[in-house]
Amino acid sequence: MSDKWTLTREPFDALLAWLDPDREQAGQKYEDIRRRLIKIFTCRGCATPEDLADESINRVVRRLKDIEEVYTGDRALYFYGVANKVFLEYLKRPPAPAPMPPHENPDEVELEYVCLERCVQHLPPENRELVIRYYQKEKRAKIDERKQLAKQLGIALNALRIRAHRIRVGLQRCMQECLERQEAS
């Protein structure tokens, strides 16, 4: 999606002010909305979700003077309405070629493993134990293990699921950073 209009400082500040009077909160809301729009475009199978999200945001910014006084609902839903229109326009374009599946280089696989192992090592011991126990084993044994783990920690199964996922997300980020450092060196 090529839109020549680019977001400059002044309209961006206006957008943040519309999202929240507190600039820090506004920045967080902006990041959340952008991230979620990207995810929605991804889930719809779009080839360029970031571009479509940015295009949606740009359109909102351009209409801001007209809507900031009159729009009263959840700001995020306004972005969503615009994103739906952007999506319909996207569908009218010739489909982009499907991305090639990434080639798995054994050296990279090896390095990923080493990086992941280091990242796990750097976890606080209780998180390391939790994430290993949460994801280990198969089927019935896994369910039992999770129940036991939740009981030990005194939390509900869903709370355990969220905790394990957050650790996993942190590990993925850590592994990615480790790989980037290795590439840079």
Partner: protein, 266 residues
């Protein structure tokens, strides 16, 4: 985050691209306005990837997964991570099982190692063969402490457990052959005591060139055993003599040398 089964199923169908449009629009609004619902979506993504890797998706789901779900580079990256993560968890189950299964000391106990190295049915035959091989090993001054080969697709892991005491006892440097099928060498540095919160291990070649540094290493314990696991890509270990200096973290960037380990790659 109160997710019911119906919610979870709807999210799952949404991810596979099979949820009716009206429901998809409704669910997307929730993702956009609720932090909990958005996190639920991210969790469901990872769980779907795990199910795919474990072969738990139906044929139809598998097709939607590859044709729809996996079209995004971000998800392909997640899949790669999930593969690595699964291998790590599998290896951990083999090498550092949870208390409820078997302990590391059991995994590396004499009988266990013998069974792994000499998988004969008769214990007497196993013991005799082991004795002969052990004498040969000592005679040729090979001190390969343990080799735990973990077949995980393309990756083989070699564990080399090193103890300064053992090296001194034999008066020889531990020697190891790294075959082509080995991709990861895991150095297991046995510790006499655990006096520091974290450790640093610096691996140097015979010329003193720093090959690899492991920082903020944490001690693993199993019964009375204390050790540090330190994984390296096998490719960096060329035939040479290596020395590892282990230091304990004091404050800020200050470390105190504790001990040394050495080994030779043949």
């Amino acid at each position: 985050m109160n997710s019911t089964f119906a919610d979870s199923e709807a999210v799952r169908q949404y991810l596979l691209g099979t949820l009716p449009q009206e429901q998809s629009l409704h669910i997307e609004e929730q993702f956009l306005t609720s932090n909990n619902r958005f996190e639920e979506l991210l969790i469901a993504e990872d769980e779907l990837i795990d199910e795919y890797l474990r072969g738990e998706l139906s044929e139809a789901e598998r097709k939607h997964f590859t044709d729809h779900f996996l079209q995004s580079p971000e998800r392909q990256q997640k899949l790669r991570f999930a593969k690595t993560f699964e291998k790590y968890i599998e290896a951990t189950q083999i090498e550092r099982p949870h208390k409820s299964t078997r302990s590391i000391s059991q995994a590396f106990s004499g009988s266990s190692i013998l069974r792994r190295l000499f998988p004969l049915r008769s214990p007497v035959a196993t013991l005799s063969l082991a004795t002969v091989v052990l004498l040969l090993l000592i005679g040729t001054s090979w001190v390969l402490i343990s080799r735990l080969q973990v077949q995980e697709g393309t990756r083989n892991s070699l564990v080399l457990a090193l103890t300064p005491r053992l090296v001194r006892d034999f008066g020889e440097t531990s020697k190891v052959v790294i075959t082509e099928d080995v991709h990861i060498v895991r150095l297991r540095l046995m510790l006499p005591a655990n006096d520091y919160q974290t450790y640093r291990a610096v691996l140097r070649s015979s010329e003193g060139t720093e090959i690899w540094t492991g920082d903020k290493l944490i001690v693993n314990t199993s019964g009375a055993d204390r050790y540090i696991d330190y994984a390296l890509p096998a490719g960096i270990l060329k035939p040479d003599d290596y020395k590892i200096t282990l230091s304990g973290h004091l404050t800020e960037d200050k470390y105190e040398d504790i001990t040394h380990y050495s080994f030779r790659v043949l």
